[in-house]
C-alpha cells in the first residue's frame, strides 16, 4: 500500500482536519509536559477505577463526539441548503451521513448516558463503587478505543459510506471495496465489548450493591430505568456482536453470510441489525426517561406520580422492544401477516410511553415549579417528544409506511425522538448533576440562552423536514434540483441547524465560564433534591459515603431531611475502615491492544492483528494472576476528609 492510499488525500476539508488534529495533539502534549502533568494524568485519570471519574471521562468523550457529529450535521445542512450545490461531492456526503449517524448513536448518546449512569447510579443506591470496578475501567477504555478507531477513518484510509445501518450489498466487498467499512465493523465491535460489560456491571451493581435498607420498589426512577436498560443491553448487544462478526468474515475472510451470491442472505443483515437496533433506541431513551423523572420530581417539589406505573411501563417497553424490529423494513415486502404483526406491536409501545407522559404531567400538576435550566430541558422534552411519538405511530402503520419510507418524514421523526428525548436528557442531566461532578453549578443565565436557542433551532431544523418528506424528498440524497421545490424549507432547516450549533457552543462556553467564575458549592444538595446522591458532601469523597445511608422509602434523602427538620438528628457513629479497589493500568493497556488488533484487521495486516490479540490475551493473564484485593481507607483519612468536605 502506498502512502497516499493510506492517508486520505485530495480534499481541502480533510487537509484542514489533518492540520487541526496535529495541532491539537501537539498542543495537548505541550501542555501536559510544560505543566508536568503526565504523572498526574496517569495516576489520577488513566488508571482510575472510580466510577465518578470514569463517568466524567465518558461525558467528556461524548461531548467531543457530539462536536464531531454536529460538524458532520452542519456540513450536510450546508450542502443541502440550496439546490445543485457542489460544496460536497456525492461520496463525501455519503461518508458524512454515515459517520454522523454512527457517531451520534454509538459514540455520543450511549457514552453520555452511560457516563451519567456511572456518576449517579452508585450514589443513588448508596454504594461505594460499582460491583466490578476494574471491569468498569475496561468498559470505558474499550469504548474509547473503539470510538477512536472509528474516528481516525476520515484521515487514514477513508470513512465508511454505506450509512449507519450499513446494509449489504452496498456495504459488501464489491460495492464498498475500501477499508472504510472495516473501520465501522471493528470500531463498533470493540466499543460493543465495553457496552456489554457495562450492562453486566450495572445490572449486578443495582441488584447487589444497594444499601440493604433500599427495596427494589424504592429505588430512584433513574436507577430503575438504568436497571432495565442494562437488561436490554445484555440481550441486544450479543446480536450486534454476531452480526458484525459475520460481516467481518464476509469482508475479510471471504465467507458468504450476507453476500448476493453463493447462498448468502443480504436482508438477513438488515434483520439482525434491527434486532439489535430497535432495542438500542430504547437503550438510549429509557435512561433519558429516568433522568426526566428525577428532574421533574425535584423541581416540581413533589414525589413522582405513579411510581409503580412508571416501573411497569418501562418493563413492558423493554419486552416489546424485542418484538418490533421489522418496522424498520416493512418495505422489504415480507408480506401482510408479518407486517401487520410488527405494525401492531409497534403501535402497542405507544401505550406504556403514553402512560409515562401522563405521569410526568401529573407530577407537574399542582407542583411548585422552579424553572431551572435542567427543568426547562425536561419541560421542553414533553411536547417535542410527543410530536416525535405521534409521527412514530404514523410510521408504524405498515401500509402508510410505504409512503413515508426513506423520506425526510422519517428523518424528522427519529430526530424528534432522539434529540428531544436523549439529547435534551443529556443536557438536563448535565446541568442537574454537574455540581455532583465538579463541585460548582453551570451558569443558569448562559444555560437558559443555550436552551432557548437550541430548542428554537431544533424545531426550526426538523419540523420542516416532516413537510419535506411529505413533499417527496428522499433521505440520503446529496443534492436536489431547483424544480423539486424543496429549497425554502431546506433553507429554514439549515438556519435551525446553525442555531443548534450556536446553542451547543454556548453550552461549551458555559462549561469554561462556570469553571472560572461559578461559586464553589458549600453544600452537597444545591437543588433541594430528593434522592441519596444529594446526601453526599461536596466534593464527593472517593469512597462516596463515610457511613452507609439508610433508605426509608421513595425519595430517601427527602425523608432524611424531613426527619432532620423534626429534630431527629441521626446519631453520630464511629467511622470504620472502608474497603476500596486499587487503580490499575491494565484496562487502558488492554484497550490499546484491542485498538492495535482492530487497526491491523482494518487493513488486513494480520501480523498486527495477531500482535494485538496476543497483547489482549497477555493483559487478561496478568489480570487473572493479580491478587491485589484493594486497600482500606483508614479511619484517620475518613475523619480528615469529612472535616474538609461540607455537608
Amino acid at each position: 500500500m502506498k502512502l497516499d492510499e493510506f492517508f486520505v488525500t485530495g480534499d481541502p476539508l480533510i487537509y484542514g482536519a489533518d492540520v487541526s488534529i496535529a495541532l491539537t495533539m501537539i498542543g495537548a502534549i505541550f501542555v501536559l509536559t510544560y505543566f508536568k502533568k503526565w504523572k498526574w494524568l496517569w495516576t489520577e485519570w488513566l488508571t482510575t477505577v472510580d466510577h465518578k471519574k470514569l463517568g466524567v471521562m465518558y461525558i467528556i468523550a461524548a461531548v467531543l463526539m457530539l462536536f464531531r457529529g454536529g460538524v458532520d450535521a452542519l456540513l450536510m445542512r450546508a450542502q443541502l441548503t440550496v439546490p445543485d450545490s457542489s460544496f460536497l461531492d456525492a461520496n463525501h456526503y455519503n461518508e458524512i451521513f454515515t459517520t454522523h449517524g454512527t457517531i451520534m448513536i454509538i459514540f455520543m448518546a450511549m457514552p453520555f448516558l452511560i457516563g451519567l449512569i456511572n456518576v449517579v447510579v452508585p450514589l443513588q443506591i448508596g454504594a461505594r463503587d460499582v460491583a466490578y470496578p476494574f471491569l468498569n475501567a475496561v468498559s470505558f477504555w474499550t469504548f474509547f478505543m473503539g470510538a477512536m478507531l472509528f474516528n481516525i477513518s476520515f484521515v487514514i484510509g477513508g470513512s465508511p459510506s454505506a450509512g449507519w445501518t450499513s446494509y449489504v450489498p452496498l456495504a459488501g466487498l464489491e460495492l464498498s471495496p475500501g477499508v472504510g467499512q472495516n473501520y465501522y465493523l471493528l470500531g463498533l465491535q470493540i466499543a460493543g465489548i465495553g457496552t456489554l460489560l457495562t450492562g453486566i456491571n450495572f445490572l449486578v451493581t443495582i441488584l447487589k450493591m444497594r444499601v440493604p435498607s433500599m427495596k427494589l420498589m424504592q429505588m430512584p426512577m433513574f436507577t430503575w430505568s438504568s436497571l432495565i436498560t442494562m437488561v436490554i443491553i445484555i440481550f441486544a448487544f450479543p446480536v450486534l456482536t454476531v452480526a458484525l462478526a459475520l460481516m467481518t468474515f464476509d469482508r475479510l475472510f471471504g465467507s458468504h453470510f450476507f453476500t448476493m451470491m453463493d447462498g448468502g442472505m443480504p436482508m438477513l443483515w438488515a434483520n439482525l441489525f434491527w434486532i439489535w437496533g430497535h432495542p438500542e433506541v430504547y437503550i438510549v431513551i429509557l435512561p433519558a426517561f429516568g433522568m426526566f423523572s428525577e428532574i421533574i420530581s425535584t423541581f416540581a417539589r413533589k414525589t413522582l406520580f405513579g411510581y409503580k406505573a412508571m416501573v411497569y411501563s418501562m418493563v413492558v417497553i423493554a419486552g416489546l422492544s424485542f418484538l418490533v424490529w421489522v418496522h424498520h423494513f416493512f418495505t422489504m415486502g415480507a408480506g401482510g401477516a408479518v407486517n401487520s404483526f410488527f405494525s401492531i406491536t409497534t403501535m402497542l409501545i405507544a401505550v406504556p410511553t403514553g402512560v409515562k407522559i401522563f405521569n410526568w404531567l401529573f407530577t407537574l400538576y399542582k407542583g411548585r415549579i422552579r424553572f431551572t435550566t435542567a427543568m426547562l430541558w425536561s419541560l421542553a422534552f414533553i411536547p417535542n417528544f410527543v410530536i416525535g411519538g405521534v409521527t412514530g405511530v404514523m410510521l408504524a402503520m405498515a401500509a402508510a409506511d410505504y409512503q413515508y419510507h426513506n423520506t425526510y418524514f422519517l428523518v424528522a421523526h427519529f430526530h424528534y425522538v432522539l434529540i428531544s428525548g436523549t439529547v435534551y436528557a443529556c443536557f438536563a442531566g448535565l446541568y442537574f448533576w454537574y455540581p455532583k461532578m465538579f463541585n460548582h453549578r453551570l451558569n443558569e443565565r448562559l444555560g437558559k440562552w443555550s436552551f432557548w436557542i437550541f430548542v428554537a433551532g431544533f424545531n426550526l431544523c426538523f419540523f420542516p423536514m416532516y413537510f419535506l418528506g411529505l413533499a417527496g424528498m428522499p433521505r440520503r440524497i446529496y443534492t436536489y434540483g431547483i424544480g423539486d421545490g424543496w429549497m425554502s424549507l431546506n433553507v429554514l432547516a439549515t438556519f435551525g441547524g446553525v442555531l443548534m450549533g450556536i446553542g451547543f457552543l454556548i453550552l461549551v462556553y458555559n462549561i469554561y465560564y462556570s469553571f472560572r467564575y461559578s461559586p464553589r458549592e458549600t453544600t452537597g444538595d444545591p437543588w433541594d433534591a430528593r434522592t441519596l446522591e444529594w446526601s453526599t458532601p461536596a466534593p464527593v469523597p472517593h469512597y462516596n459515603f463515610a457511613h452507609l445511608p439508610e433508605a426509608k422509602g421513595h425519595d430517601a434523602f427527602w425523608i432524611m431531611k424531613e426527619e432532620k427538620k423534626q429534630g431527629k438528628a441521626p446519631e453520630k457513629k464511629p467511622y470504620k475502615p472502608i474497603h476500596m479497589p486499587s487503580y490499575s493500568g491494565v484496562p487502558i493497556i488492554m484497550s490499546v491492544f484491542f485498538f492495535t488488533a482492530g487497526f491491523g484487521m482494518v487493513f488486513s495486516w494480520h501480523w498486527m492483528s495477531i500482535l494485538g490479540l496476543v497483547g489482549v490475551l497477555a493483559t487478561m493473564v496478568i489480570r487473572s494472576f493479580d491478587y491485589d484485593k484493594g486497600f482500606y481507607v483508614s479511619v484517620e483519612e475518613i475523619e480528615e476528609t469529612e472535616k474538609k468536605t461540607t455537608l
Binding site: 446480536v239 442472505m265 438477513l268 424490529w325 415480507a334 408480506g335 408479518v338 452507609l548 474497603h579
Partner: protein, 107 residues
C-alpha cells in the same frame, strides 16, 4: 460494606472452568467435523449440530455462569424464562420474517 471480606472462594484451582473450556472446544470441533467432513445427510447434520449447540449452552450455564450457585431460584427461573423468550422471539421471528416471499426467489 458486605464486600469487606473479599472471600477466598476463588483461591482453589478453577477445575470446573477448565473442564468447561475443554468440553466447549471439543464440542465445537465435533460440530465442525460433522459439518465439513462427515457423510451424514443434511438433515442429520442439522439435528446433530443443534443438539451439540444445546449441550454446549448447558455446559456454559453450569460451568461458567454459576447457575447453581444462587440462593434465590426465583430470580434464576425468571432470568432463564426471559432469555428463552428473547431467544425464541429472535430465532423464530427471524425465520418467519426471512422465509416469507422465498418462493419468489430462485433458491
Amino acid at each position: 460494606m458486605s464486600n469487606n471480606e473479599q472471600t477466598n472462594s476463588h483461591s482453589h484451582f478453577p477445575w470446573s472452568h477448565l473442564i468447561g473450556f475443554g468440553l466447549s472446544i471439543v464440542l465445537t470441533l465435533l460440530a465442525l467435523w460433522v459439518g465439513f467432513a462427515s457423510d451424514f445427510s443434511f438433515r442429520t447434520i442439522m439435528i446433530i449440530v443443534v443438539i451439540l449447540a444445546l449441550i454446549q449452552a448447558a455446559i456454559q450455564l453450569l460451568m461458567f455462569m454459576h447457575i447453581t450457585e444462587s440462593d434465590s431460584s426465583r430470580i434464576q427461573v425468571g432470568t432463564i424464562l426471559y432469555a428463552v423468550f428473547i431467544a425464541v422471539a429472535i430465532v423464530a421471528g427471524t425465520i418467519w420474517v426471512m422465509s416469507f416471499g422465498m418462493h419468489n426467489m430462485n433458491m
